[in-house]
């Protein structure tokens, strides 16, 4: 493995709450999801200050994650189970790198690492950084990450409407709720051997991730939690939703909100639920979800 490509740039001057990197729940997010890169599109609004980028669709997520960390540390100043957000960037835009570092400091974001990668090695970068969850607005990257066993989710949300007060994570449960021995399962489809393996690989990392989120969630009460887990089934009957709920519970996470759509229009509901991130393995059910405003 060529480690040259895996260069980390540490952002100086940022206060981090991390006590123990081995316990951190690392979330990788593409830097162009967190900030609006001026070179890519016409600026939609004047820049916040010179050399500073405007917030992108992933910005509310980062702020909400930060609040969870703050609340965790409030409860226990020695807390080691915290989120650790790292940004992914490609090397070939040096100008934007300094803008990103400036912007991180300007907005007071708790991000200490910017990792470089390209299309080819990005999944190995994820693994070497022990990334537990990869977030993107790009469905190709999400699928790529999932195929190599890293849980990956869609960044959802419209600029300006997502809440900063509570981190809202939504799991699409249709595939989580299937069971071999019931009548609520669709007739067997041909699943390739590779596909089966990748599903199993991601499933065990998903279990780990869910267990960690569940552990964090339990540190707060049922009400006024800075972290909220939601479950939604899109086209399945009610019992599939309940089985998905029980499965998540068995993995260590008690979801707060649950929605069984059974074919009711998804986008209306999602627009109301307003999750920051949407986990759907294989993106089977949410391919058309509008991720950006």
């Amino acid at each position: 493995m060529n480690t040259d490509d895996d260069v980390k740039q540490f952002v100086t001057g940022v206060v981090s709450l991390q006590k123990d990197p081995s316990r951190a729940v690392v979330i990788a997010i593409s830097h162009d999801a967190v900030f609006d890169l001026k070179e890519e599109q016409e600026p939609k609004a004047p820049a916040a200050a010179s050399g500073v980028l405007n917030p992108g669709p992933g910005f509310p997520f980062v702020k909400a994650v930060q609040r969870v960390n703050e609340k965790l540390v409030e409860k226990n100043p020695n807390e080691t189970l915290l989120f650790d957000v790292i940004l992914l960037s490609s090397k070939d835009r040096p100008k934007s790198q300094s803008e990103v570092a400036n912007s991180i400091k300007h907005y007071g974001l708790e991000i200490t690492r910017l990792c470089f990668c390209n299309n080819e090695n990005f999944t190995s970068v994820l693994r070497s950084n022990k990334v537990k969850l990869f977030l993107s607005t790009n469905t190709d990257y999400i699928t790529k990450a999932q195929d190599t066993g890293v849980p990956a989710a869609l960044l959802y949300g419209q600029r300006g409407t997502a809440t900063l007060d509570q981190l809202r994570v939504l799991f699409i449960g249709d595939s989580l709720g299937f069971s071999e021995d019931t009548t609520d399962r669709p007739k067997d489809e041909d699943t390739g051997e590779d596909q089966l393996q990748s599903v199993q690989l991601t499933q065990s990392s998903l279990e780990d991730l869910v267990a960690l989120i569940g552990e964090m969630r339990r540190k707060f009460g049922r009400e006024n939690s800075p972290l909220c887990a939601c479950l939604m089934t899109v086209c399945s009957p009610r019992n599939v939703c309940v089985r998905a709920l029980k499965r998540l519970r068995a993995w260590g996470l008690e979801v707060d909100e649950a929605f069984c759509l059974a074919g009711a229009p998804q986008s209306r509901l999602l627009a109301h639920i307003q999750p920051h991130i949407l986990y759907d393995h294989g993106l089977q059910y949410t391919l058309d979800v509008p991720a950006l405003s």
Binding site: T183, C235, R238, G263
Partner: protein, 361 residues
């Protein structure tokens, strides 16, 4: 309100909806168990029921009030596999299900059906017991929203709800304010045997099907002025009230039976039970309904007599009224009643104006 479903079909949104719908249809059609699939929300008559109206949760509610949320959720989880007892809306839901069975038999491919959605404020963990209970009674409720404490109002709209039943007056008022027909359900004092082949829905007139404009005249100027006014404006339709759209939705389904020559055997029957009198103020009401193109199967003018005994004969699965006085009277004699907190009637109790700020000693 019936226009709401039509108005919200911008081209792109409709395309997405079709896709969501097609996926679910394909899924349900492929299931080994031949479960009836829920209808397309755009065409369905959607009834949202809260957990406390569907099931009897009085003792659980007590735990919540006395011991707090955490103990309440823990209790529900411990008893997850014990089905809850039926609540006030249960007979209504069962009757709706039997109408659906008749509709499916006559129109196998139609999406114009009732759709029942469980709309609860409860946390998802409590939801397991609710779904287990739904399974126990084999109710056809496939859609649900467990909002974990957040207001259900936005979700009501997202599901294109035609009627919302809850025990929580604040939520019901909010729903009415947003143009959704809604009512607060009450459990009657005695149990009465209801038809299991015909859904019977009874409505009060003023401030339920119609606006409270005439109600205001009675309260502020007395009965004589009211009679004069109604006679004078007999041919001017009353403005619509919060439950008008629901009556309209019922009418749409009734006509499907008529089209198949099932008028005499129609499994939906509607009643108007009004304190108005046929002789003096009744005409305006009938003319208003006619102008709206709506039919009501039986119009009963009580001329001020108590509604309880008459309702006892009708045995509706639900009776909507805006005045608690009538709700109480109905419940005493076993009628399942639903209070519509709308209009001037809310400011009065048994004919007397409720003081806003009662004097303290």
């Amino acid at each position: 309100m019936s226009d709401m479903k039509e108005a919200e079909s911008a081209g792109e949104l409709k395309g997405e909806e079709e896709k969501d719908w097609a996926e679910a249809k394909a899924f349900f059609d492929s299931l080994k168990s031949k479960k009836p699939r829920p209808p397309k929300p755009r065409y369905a008559v959607t009834i949202a029921v809260s957990s406390r109206t569907l099931f009897d949760m009085t003792s659980e509610r007590k735990i919540f009030k006395q011991q707090g949320l955490e103990k309440y959720v823990a209790h529900q989880q411990e008893h997850e596999d014990e089905p809850l007892k039926p609540g006030a809306a249960f007979p209504f839901v069962k009757a709706v299900m039997s109408v659906n069975a008749r509709l499916r038999a006559l129109y196998p491919d139609s999406e114009e059906l009732f759709d029942i959605v469980l709309m609860t404020n409860n946390h998802a963990q409590v939801g397991v017991r609710l779904i287990n209970s739904i399974n126990h009674y084999d109710l056809t409720i496939e859609r649900f929203c467990m909002t974990g404490g957040k207001s259900p109002i936005g979700y009501l709209k997202a599901y294109m709800t035609n009627l919302y039943l809850s025990k929580d007056s604040k939520k019901v008022q909010e729903a009415i304010g947003e143009g959704i027909a809604a009512a607060i359900m009450f459990t009657p004092d005695m149990e009465v045997e209801l038809s299991d082949t015909q859904l019977r829905v009874a409505f009060d007139g003023d401030a339920v099907l119609f606006s409270d404009e005439s109600e205001i005249i009675v309260k502020q100027h007395g009965l004589d002025t009211f009679f004069e006014h109604e006679k004078r404006f007999e041919n001017k339709p009353l403005a619509q009230g919060p439950l008008k759209c629901f009556l309209e939705a019922l009418g749409k389904l009734q006509r499907k039976f008529y089209a198949k020559n099932e008028r005499l055997n129609c499994p939906i029957r509607t009643y108007l039970v009004t304190a108005r009198s046929a002789a003096s103020s009744g005409a305006r009401v009938l003319k208003t309904l006619r102008s709206w193109g709506l039919e009501i199967d039986e119009a009963l003018f009580l001329a001020g007599a108590p509604k309880g005994p008459l309702l006892q004969k009708i045995r509706p699965h639900i009776f909507f009224d805006d005045q608690m006085f009538h709700i109480e009277g109905a419940m005493e004699l076993g009628t399942i009643s639903a209070h519509v907190p709308y209009g001037i009637g809310q400011k009065y109790n048994r004919g007397k104006l409720i003081e806003e700020n009662p004097q303290k000693q």
